[in-house]
Amino acid sequence: MGAITAGIVVFPGSNCDHDTEHAVASFRGIRPVMLWHNEHDLQGVDCIILPGGFSYGDYLRAGAIARFSPIMQEVIEFARKGHPVLGICNGFQVLLESGLLEGALSRNRDKKFICTRTTITVAKTSTLFTSRYLQDEVLSIPVAHGEGNYFAPPEVIERLEEHNQIVFRYCDAEGNVVPESNPNGSLHNIAGIINREGNVLGLMPHPERASEKRLGSDDGRRLFESIFDYIAGRQ
């Protein structure tokens, strides 16, 4: 069994790529592989992570230009084949723009860029990204975004609820999903969603910034662990 490799896509303007690399490299037997936006070669990686940041300066709309970069054509193909793809923050925005996930992220309700610790609840554990969590577990994971206000037409929201595709919701410290615990105005307190096939997950909070105790929380660690478990199980 070879080492598991995790591809981390680097766009001009990505700024969480090395944080993600650091988090991934801290797992025994896992090798991060940095993938430049202008390339077409995914180098045979086992999973792909689209990191946070401001790809292409967030020009036009967050994620809009990154979606058409050469590497993204391969990532879309990779996702369609059923391989795991995780989008964090700006990565989530890129996944929505590319149509791998449904909906859009508009500006935060309260007009501000929010950089703070949030609590989110795990609404679904039967995914390859969340198998190491407990149902309704409350996680402390930071957010840092200006456009994290999840929006989708009513029929899409209904469909996401019906097919149990909402994986993370903003909640209070006790795990209650209430309007007061919604930092950015996202519909249904949505912090992260998964596609119907279950191999593409996007979320606004940053698990890589909560991947070791000295960062204040290691609640994000098990998200990566779940993915690597899944890949190891298939090898």
């Binding site: 036009l60 709309r61 809009a64 230009i65 058409f68 929505l96 723009e97 909906g103 859009a104 508009s106 500006r107 935060n108 309700r109 309260d110 007009k111 206000n149 929006f151 989708a152 037409p153 105005g185």
Partner: protein, 84 residues
């Protein structure tokens, strides 16, 4: 002769426009009591090297749908002008 497309991309009415709201409040604070609302959109000029108007229009629609706007939350409109 090529065409110049003047494209406007606006947030759908159902989407909260926080930039527009901030500008609206600023205008009201300046004493413009008759200002009811303000909404902010994007204005994009694209010059298209195409002599056929129908084709220029088709390209314009395509780029608006593909890249310049996000149909989930935005609308677009454009005017085409032939330039010398």
């Amino acid at each position: 002769m090529p065409y110049n497309a003047k494209i406007k991309v606006t947030l759908r009415q159902s989407i909260l426009d926080v930039q527009g709201k901030a500008v609206e409040h600023a205008l009201k604070n300046l004493g413009y009591g008759t200002v009811d609302s303000a909404r902010i959109g994007k204005y994009i000029e694209v010059s298209i090297n195409e002599t056929d108007r129908v084709e220029a229009e088709r390209i314009c629609n395509e780029i608006c749908q593909k890249l310049l706007s996000n149909p989930v939350m935005e609308n677009y409109a454009f005017e085409l002008e032939q330039v010398n």
